[in-house]
């Protein structure tokens, strides 16, 4: 009997009376229970029926059974006996007589047992469990009348009991009370304690799968089916994303000291940094990879977007904004404080820290201010104020820091002030070629205030701004440039990273009545002329990049004086002509914004400037006021997943996931691994791929460290042998692992579940200790970011054909030189300087195949390339199936633990948790246990790297993948490949045996 059947049977028999106890003391037959179970056996036991009574009365004659006394089993047994053995033998075993009283007593006991069994409920204790399934109805659980009458009484009892319990639980207010504004806000604030909401949260929560990440609650992906629609929006129209969770860090100080301090964090080898003239002037936004102070090329921290405020005077202090991912901020801030020598305790300073610290009062002020403006307008509001319990809507909040932690740091030595402006400025990202059209449609440059506004003093920022003639003329120039944007055909025409400052009217005032799709205006485009041409050629002049958004006071003022939606609607309702524009524009509704151009795909030759767009920077509190008008221009909204796809199509590394050498990236990868393993374990074993059989060592993480080390060993050995490298013998010696591996093996054996900090994407399921360890851990490999080196590698990757040369376009001569240089000696020298490096590459599959996350990138064997040359439709070699040696070991352990083999359903999980700390924790079935053997030589093709983003690319029409490969391995492979088919690799998914050909590309 199989395990499941056995279990079912046991469950069924659980409540059956297993033993009959007779009240008669003399009655204790040894096999009586069997008689109950199995009537067929009764004949053998026939003697025991009357066993004890035999000395008693006479037995009724021969074969005639006593119909009134025998239990049914006896009767059946009798008939059996009749047919099988004949009457003769049977009748001899029967007693000749029975005693009536004893016999009746015994029967009475049996009847009693039967009655007990009948009255006892078996199985589920639900009342309607007694009903067959087809008669059950969902409504029965709360409406007794739906049940058959015989069950109603019991059901009513149960219902009463549960309803009592429920009432005790939910003594909360009625729904109406809960939805009252103040209470709702209280509830919202309570729910934001752990994961802060963005301003567009409620809009998103209705339409998106929300993900809780980095201290925020963020939209992950829309609930509607929109994979392709979002792609189309990105490549044809406009996709909107709320990036407000990005943290802004402000650094203020003298230009020279600032640059000197920041230069320690970056290197010019990786491209232009903070000091590049074009960024320093404030005209463009830059992007740079930040390292720990003076540690380049080791210990990178992550990618940072930065923008300088344009110079205002010859020697005035400069202001710099760093836009960082929230998971990077905790690493970056200490480093910034170090280089700026801002180790002093936080200044209790007047300018920066005040408004955020005084959070509660800051929110209440505007309400009072409004009251002051319109006295006696609303009774309701004042009544509520009187109660003084109206909670403040929390538009300020931050999930990335402790409430009490300081927000700004000041250095006495250098005069630099660092302040954390997280959640102070919102960032909306518009991706797509028509995003500038959407912006020009949505935003209108702020209208000047009338002559009366010029004279009297106002507490609003705009009239004050207008008093200064310079400001006004600057605003007019900015507005002109903004209007010229309409003449631009698509967003990629603007120089990459251009910044435009602007003051705009409240976009709610020009909200269209219906949602419609913005389309470019052909007339505007042709009429643009020379000015638009200048704009596309040169971008925005430096002085027009200035915006009042840089001023703390202005931001504060704008946030406080926002007209609430309700008020705006009231003003609209008082209009004489319905649906006409409000005029004059209310003085509060001018908002300073910054428009930042985002370059699209800049590297590589294909899909140039794909995914270009604009970022819209707003003061806090205005999120929904801009969000809805943008939505009404027909944009589509994406979440985190769409952002991932965007960067994938751009061929750019996506921040936390594709920076495995940064602490933030390592943390992210570890969490991702935990999630993937959990998901894997949740599936039944028969429905999971057995990764051991697929020859995949680490399907849920990428052992970069091990990969880099092994390749270092291989190259070293190859150099020692002085042999021209070829893939055939390139398999590394598994018995000679690097020192790291030795140590990690020891650690794995010794402590079992102890975290292994030297592996950044380590196997640990993210306990907090493991996470903190990861933060401390320093990756021993690095990602190659030096532009010069990347450019050389990129040139080597291309096939040496005429087409490759032509596509390279510029500077064919140096390329030629470098091609010639690809000799073992050069390879050795490059590997020497960039030991244990990984290179970011893009793979495009030649034919079929859709690469997945953590797919393996392998070196094709010479015969593979030969086969491909013969038959261009050759789809690729197959990996022979591996043998799962761990299967038997698992079985043995299971037996040792005394678990029946039939309980296989839950075994891997139990195995995963059960064993004591002494033995290493075994992974789920189908996963390699730690430590891993040699990763490079595990399969029939030598491993080169892993894919970190892979999918079918709708833009290219074939599978595309992004990932890292070992630099040493890549050069090794390239030097061994024939010139015509240089750069061909194989890609194989983690749960597949099929290799696919792909072209590798290093894009600089």
């Amino acid at each position: 009997m199989s395990g499941a059947k056995e279990r079912m049977h046991r469950k069924k028999m659980r409540n059956q009376p297993s033993n009959i106890t007779f009240s008669s003391p003399g009655w204790a037959p040894p096999q009586d229970e069997r008689r109950w179970r199995n009537g067929g056996e009764a004949q053998r036991q026939g003697r025991s029926y009357g066993g004890p009574q035999q000395p008693g009365g006479p037995r009724p004659p021969s074969s005639a059974p006593s119909p009134q006394g025998h239990p049914s089993g006896g009767v059946r047994g009798h008939q059996w006996g009749d047919s099988a053995r004949g009457v003769q033998g049977y009748s001899q075993k029967l007693p000749r007589y029975i005693t009536a009283s004893v016999f009746a007593q015994a029967r009475a006991a049996e009847v009693g047992a039967m009655l007990r069994a009948v009255t006892k409920t078996t199985g589920s204790s639900h009342v309607f469990g007694a009903l067959p399934k087809h008669m059950r109805r969902r409504a029965m659980s709360h409406n007794v009348r739906r049940l058959p009458r015989r069950l109603r009484a019991a059901a009513a009892r149960v219902l009463e009991k549960t309803s009592q319990q429920k009432k005790e639980q939910s003594k909360s207010k009625s729904r109406r009370a809960r939805r009252r504004h103040g209470n709702l806000l209280l509830e919202f604030n309570r729910r934001q304690r752990k994961h802060v909401w963005l301003e567009t949260h409620i809009w998103h929560a209705k339409r998106f799968h929300m993900a809780r990440a980095w201290g925020y609650s963020l939209g992950d992906r829309p609930t509607s089916k929109c994979y392709r629609a979002c792609y189309r929006a990105m490549s044809g129209h406009c996709l909107l994303q709320d990036l407000s969770y990005y943290c802004c860090v402000e650094v203020k100080g003298e230009e020279d000291t600032l640059l000197r301090a920041l230069a320690r964090l970056t290197s010019k080898e990786t491209g232009p940094t903070f000091g590049a003239a074009v960024f320093l002037s404030g005209r463009r936004q830059g992007s740079v990879v930040v390292h720990r102070a003076d540690r380049y090329p080791a210990e990178p921290l992550g990618q940072v977007l930065f923008m300088w405020r344009p110079k205002r005077g010859p020697c005035s202090p400069r202001q710099l904004w760093l836009w960082v991912h929230p998971t990077l901020k905790q690493d970056l801030l200490p480093e910034l404080q170090l280089v700026c020598q801002c180790s002093e305790p936080p200044e209790p300073g007047p300018p920066v820290a005040l408004p955020v610290l005084a959070r509660g009062s800051a929110g209440e002020e505007p309400a009072e201010a409004r009251e002051a403006q319109r006295p006696g307008k609303k009774r309701k509001r004042s009544g509520a104020e009187g109660e003084a319990v109206v909670p403040v809507k929390k538009i300020i909040g931050d999930g990335t820091r402790q409430a009490a932690s300081p927000l700004s740091w000041r250095s006495e030595a250098t005069g630099i002030v660092i302040s954390d402006l997280t959640m102070e400025i919102l960032r909306f990202r518009l991706i797509g070629p028509l995003s500038h059209c959407v912006l020009t449609d949505t935003l209108t440059p702020a209208t000047d205030c009338g002559p009366e506004g010029m004279t009297e003093t106002s507490h609003l920022w705009w009239p004050e701004q207008c008093k200064d003639g310079d400001n006004l003329s600057l605003h007019h120039r900015q507005a002109d440039i903004f209007r010229q944007l309409k003449g631009v055909c698509f967003s990629g025409e603007i120089p990459a990273g251009t910044i435009l400052g602007l003051a705009v009217d409240d976009p709610r005032l020009t909200l269209p009545t219906r949602r419609s799709k913005t389309l470019p205006d052909l007339k505007q485009m042709q009429g643009g002329g020379e000015e638009t041409r200048l704009l596309t050629l040169q971008g925005v002049p430096a002085e027009c990049c200035e915006s009042p958004l840089w001023e703390q006071a202005v931001r504060h003022n704008v946030t406080e004086n926002k007209i609430p939606e309700q008020e705006l609607n009231r003003m609209r309702s008082e209009l004489l002509v319905p649906a006409s524009q409000l005029s004059p524009t209310p003085p509060q509704s001018r908002v300073p914004v910054l428009l930042v151009h985002q370059p699209g795909k800049q590297v590589g030759e294909e899909k140039s400037s794909w995914g270009t767009g604009w970022d819209l920077l707003l003061p806090k509190g205005w999120g929904m006021a801009f969000w809805i008008p943008l939505i009404f221009r027909g944009v589509r909204v994406g979440g985190l997943q769409e952002a991932l796809k965007h960067s994938q199509n751009k061929g750019a590394p996506h921040f936390p996931g594709d920076f495995p050498d940064c602490p933030a990236g390592a943390r992210f990868l570890r969490e991702q691994e935990t999630q993937l393993v959990d998901h894997y374990r949740r599936r039944p074993p028969a429905k999971r791929p057995n990764y051991i059989k697929h020859g995949c060592l680490a399907p849920f993480r990428c052992p970069w460290q091990q990969l880099a080390e092994e390749w270092e060993m291989i190259v070293k050995e190859a150099a020692e042998e002085e042999l021209p490298a070829s893939e055939g013998h390139a398999g590394p010696a598994p018995e000679a692992p690097g020192p790291e591996e030795h140590r990690s093996q020891a650690a794995g054996r010794g402590e079992g579940s102890a975290p292994r900090p030297e592996f950044p994407g380590g196997p640990e399921c993210g306990s907090t200790s493991a996470l903190s360890d990861a933060a401390v851990a320093v990756a021993k490999f690095k990602v190659l970011r030096s532009r010069k080196a990347l450019r050389r590698v990129s040139a080597w990757c291309r096939p040496t054909s005429a087409r490759g040369q032509r596509l390279r376009g510029r500077a064919p001569a140096p390329a030629q030189e470098q091609e010639q240089q690809l000799t073992p000696a050069v390879v050795a020298s490059v590997c020497e300087t960039h030991g244990r490096s990984l290179v970011w590459t893009r793979l495009s599959l030649l034919r079929k195949g859709r690469p997945t996350l953590h797919a393996m990138i392998c070196i094709p064997a010479p015969e593979d390339i030969q086969l491909l040359r013969v038959d261009p439709a050759y789809s690729g070699p197959q990996e022979p199936r591996h043998k799962d040696h761990f299967r038997h070991r698992r079985g043995r352990r299971r037996q040792e633990e005394g678990e029946g083999p039939e309980e296989g359903g839950g075994t891997p999980e139990r195995l995963g948790q059960a064993p004591a700390a002494g033995s290493p924790e075994p992974p789920a079935a189908g996963l390699w246990p730690e430590p891993l053997p040699s990763v490079t030589s595990h399969c029939s093709r030598v491993l080169l790297g892993f894919v970190t983003q892979g999918d079918f690319s709708l833009a290219a029409g074939c599978g595309e993948a992004l990932g890292f490969v070992s630099l040493a391995g890549l050069l090794h492979m390239l030097s061994g490949q024939p010139a015509g088919s240089r750069g061909l690799v194989l890609v194989r998914g983690a749960a597949s045996l099929q290799y696919r050909f792909a072209k590798i590309d290093v894009e600089v």
């Binding site: 074009v278 990459a496 596309t536 400037s609």
Partner: protein, 149 residues
């Protein structure tokens, strides 16, 4: 080379394009600058516009045009080709005409398209990024059903 059609404009705050004089100055040192070509200006596309490129298979592009003319209900289509694709655009138009047994007529126009290159300095002391404009030829062929068809 000194004509204003191929100037290297320096986006100085003064805002004037500065055409450089000699050919030697126009030629940028490839070590100091990275050249990025921007895409040509994109105009909104009608249904009957066909932009010809060198990446897509020739037969596929031809079939697309045929489909537009025959099944797509278009009385005329415009085949655009830029630079290297001019040849192919002409080829497509002629093939269409030949296949139609005289039903289709052709009218060609040529134009010049201004293209923009970005020159990004390699090192930080290299100064501001420059833009360079150059011109490329383009052809726009109208393929239409003549009178009486």
């Amino acid at each position: 080379m000194a004509d204003p059609r191929s100037p290297v404009s320096v986006p100085a705050s003064g805002g004037t394009a500065r055409p450089l004089g000699g050919a030697g100055e126009v030629e940028m040192d490839p070590v100091e600058f990275t050249l990025r070509k921007r895409l040509p200006r994109k105009l909104p596309r009608r249904r009957n516009d066909v932009y010809v490129n060198m990446k897509t298979d020739f037969r596929a592009q031809l079939a697309r045009c045929q489909k537009l003319l025959e099944g797509g209900g278009q009385r005329e289509i415009c085949v655009h080709g830029l630079g290297l694709a001019i040849n192919r655009a002409i080829n497509i138009a002629l093939q269409l005409q030949a296949a139609s047994q005289g039903a289709l007529q052709i009218a060609a126009n040529t134009s010049t398209v201004e293209l923009v290159d970005d020159l990004e300095p390699e090192d930080e002391e290299g100064g501001e990024p420059l833009t360079r404009t150059r011109n490329n030829s383009a052809i726009h062929i109208k393929v239409f059903y003549g009178e009486g068809h």
